[in-house]
């Protein structure tokens, strides 16, 4: 399930559940660096409509920690996704 290590100058992004359905892939490598608050805009360019349809209800993790990709959180506003990072798009969960 974990993708191959990202090539130089890239980060890995994992798509789960509805995000995976929409992108039609489980993971890919994208060029780094990217500001966390620009991530959703970048994905909207690649997958038109994903923002409203999927991302609006998703959370984002970077290296297994939740970050605020909406850009409203002062602490995460300047956060940068770097080469080699593992980013994940986390739709609303449904265990049990």
């Amino acid at each position: 399930m974990a993708p191959a290590k990202a090539p130089a100058g890239h980060f890995s992004i994992l798509y789960f559940a509805a995000a995976s359905t929409y992108t039609r892939r489980a993971s890919e490598h994208l060029p780094a660096p990217v500001r966390a608050r620009d991530l959703f805009a970048l994905l909207e360019e690649r997958y038109p409509g994903i923002g409203e349809k999927v991302l609006s209800s998703c959370a984002v993790t970077v290296n297994l920690e939740y970050v605020d990709a909406g850009g409203d959180d002062a602490e995460d506003a300047g956060r940068v996704i770097k080469e080699g990072d593992e980013v994940a798009i986390i739709p609303p969960v449904s265990s049990g």
Binding site: M1, F16, K53, P92, S94, S95
Partner: protein, 177 residues
């Protein structure tokens, strides 16, 4: 929110269980059938007078629609951390003795166990409350997703917080009706 999967979708297969165990906490994601007796045995303790066991099984319908099959997928390294954090918080809050949370991944036939939670505590009130809260917290937070396939139709990614069917998209990722 929910989107559809073609009925050919196959969940990522986890070949081996992922486990995190301490003296008092056992959390596990597994592709195998769940063993509720093993979870119960893990939490048994001479200092605990009560053990509560919850077994969640997959239902054959959603809002009256027949579900033909189910599969769970996960982000295992994150989900195991989340389960571990939940288990630790429950132990502390309810002063329980031990806790086990085990969730199934991959295909899960209708009517079979998808989650097992066992909690032990000195007295029954704490064990009841802890068991219920552990389940609710897991359903709210663990990074696990359920795909329900309906008879004669595509699959739908469930979202626990919605409690409704959700909106569908077609395969091209375009907005559907």
């Amino acid at each position: 929110m929910a989107t559809t999967e073609p009925s050919s979708y196959a969940a990522d297969i986890l070949s081996e269980p992922i486990v995190k165990t301490t003296e008092t906490i056992h959390v596990e994601l597994t592709p195998h059938d769940l063993d509720s007796l093993a979870a119960t045995r893990f939490v048994r303790s001479p200092s605990a007078g009560a053990t509560v066991l919850f077994i969640g099984t997959t239902r054959d319908s959603f809002n009256g629609l027949p579900v033909s099959s189910l599969a769970y997928t996960s982000y295992p390294p994150l989900a195991i951390n989340t389960l571990s954090t939940i288990a630790q918080a429950i132990l502390t809050k309810h002063q329980c003795t031990k806790i086990a949370i085990v969730h199934k991944l991959g295909e899960c036939p209708i009517g079979e166990e998808s989650i097992v939670i066992a909690v032990s505590a000195p007295h029954r009130q704490a064990a009841w409350r802890a068991g219920e809260e552990a389940l609710e917290e897991t359903k709210a937070k663990a990074e696990i997703w359920k795909l329900e396939r309906f008879e004669g139709g595509d699959g739908v990614w469930r979202a626990n917080r919605d409690g409704v069917m959700g909106v569908k998209i077609d395969e091209g990722g375009k907005k559907g009706e």
